[in-house]
Amino acid sequence: MNEIYFNAYAGYLEGVVRGYRDGLITAPQYLNLTQCETMDDLKLQLATTDYASFLQNEPSPMSTSTLSARCTDALVAEFQYLQQNAAEPISKFLDYITYGYMIDNVILLITGTLHERDTHDLLEKCHPLGFFDTMPALCVATTVQDLYSTVLVDSPLAGYFRECLSAEDLNELNIEIIRNTLHKAYLEDFYAYCQSLGEPTASIMSEILKLEADRRTVNITINSFGTDLSKDDRAKLYPRLGNMYPEAQTRLARVDDVDQVKAILEQYSEYKTILAGVSLGASTGGNDVTLEDRFFVREVQFNKDSFEQQFHYGVFYSWLRLKEQEIRNVVWVAECISQQQKDKINNYTSIY
């Protein structure tokens, strides 16, 4: 029955976002990009894509960081067009997507303040999608309590902070814990919200969010080796959803090194393929495939699949994720070109 009502709220936006999807860089275009010898060539090749209007006014020796910033501008412009044209249930869904970026911005600002960086530099580094009004005030906070009561209580993130308030002072480890707790709370909340939207949004988004949760679980496990984080605290950081919840998570909470992680994951069919030929943790350099890349490939696949159905909200999330992946790809190619590392240039995650 969803088909009958869906277009009343989101028909136009779905058409627009599918148009954006068709603007993603395709395999032949990637091939052209990798053939480039200089950044100017690359810029010329990108002139046939959606990034053209954002890149055309850049002065000629373009750095990769400028390229990345302009590409992000293109993404943000498109997303904001969607937000401006959205009405109720879809606008809330789009807002939920931005909360993830807000969390990253909050953490970036707290970390920056801890290291006494300049506020303006920090604000420039924040992701534009995660910008909220009281954000600049974050730089004055010194304790978690301050942070919450002066700034975040008015932001949409207030609810996610409930579990972090026990942390006393802001140091490197605590910030990392706050970041993961926030992401965990956000992921669980977003998942519950998607489930409340009903089919087919619920099933499509649950696949994507479960993968995200699993990726967080694995990353938290691997990154916690060799830190002060106790095993109980580690278990608390795992999102309570995903294919690894709860069985694999309880086992991952007790492991001590990367090989044990690998041994556990290999018992689950959906992660067996992800791990094949992957060097976990310690990078040995060269053309090794990292676990992150494998998760990216899996994520791209899920996000592509969500375009196979019409009349659901998943396409908005998926398009954003695919576009982000595309920007990572373009920046990777640009890095390889500017650093003359042409042998690694094909290590991008192809989308279409």
Binding site: I4, N7, A8, Y12, L13, R18
Partner: protein, 210 residues
């Protein structure tokens, strides 16, 4: 929100229980006081004027058809607009989906005109004839059949039209393929039209007892 939801469901249950108990009470009262024959559905239906039946049928016919057409047009139309932002070429081509939806309303109009031609003033002092009752019933059910089939047809064409627009925007070659499915969808409204014509075909105009 959960509180208000539970409150509304509670009041709805209360209302339903009240109506049901009143109905049971009234039924038992009639039955136990020896007046059970008053509970006569058939007699009630026969007391309704054949004009009432006929005009209800006509209004269902045109009303439901227009709802179906309008619904289909907005389902297809919003997707065409959205898709046309990036690929403007789909806009003109996909107007065919809008026309298919519009046709559904035209079916309803045609049938309403055909039905209403059967309504004539009854001047006989003896009232309605048996044939007039048949005309009233057949126009009612014929009109309902046409209206409902056109409503569903409009939805089907609207959804496939939206699919066609999105598919066309992605890949030009898909347009004709999806259009074929859409045509099959638009034909089901025609079935309702044919059945509506057959059902009312034997009905005479209103004349009264001659």
């Amino acid at each position: 929100m959960g509180l208000s939801y539970s409150y509304s469901s509670y009041s709805r249950n209360l209302l339903g229980a009240t109506i049901a108990s009143l109905a049971v009470w009234a039924g038992l009262y009639l039955l136990l006081t020896g007046r059970g024959e008053r509970f006569n559905v058939g007699g009630y239906l026969l007391r309704i004027s054949p004009y009432m039946w006929a005009l209800y049928g006509i209004s269902f016919c045109i009303g439901l058809s227009v709802v179906g057409a309008a619904w289909g047009i907005f389902i297809a139309g919003t997707s065409i607009l959205g898709g046309a932002v990036r690929t403007p070429r789909i806009a003109t081509k996909n107007l065919i989906s809008i026309i298919f939806c519009e046709v559904v309303a035209i079916y309803g109009v045609i049938m309403a005109i055909v039905f209403s031609a059967k309504i004539q003033a009854v001047n006989s002092s003896a009232g309605f004839s048996r044939s007039d009752y048949y005309t009233g019933f057949s126009l009612f059910w014929g009109g309902l059949a046409v209206g409902l089939s056109n409503l569903i047809c409009g939805l089907a064409v609207g959804i496939t039209g939206s699919n066609a627009a999105v598919a066309d925007a992605h890949d030009q070659q898909l347009f004709v393929k999806v259009l074929i499915i859409e045509i099959f969808g638009s034909v089901i409204g025609l079935f309702g039209l044919i059945v509506g014509l057959l059902v009312t075909g034997k009905a005479e105009d209103f004349a009264g007892v001659i």
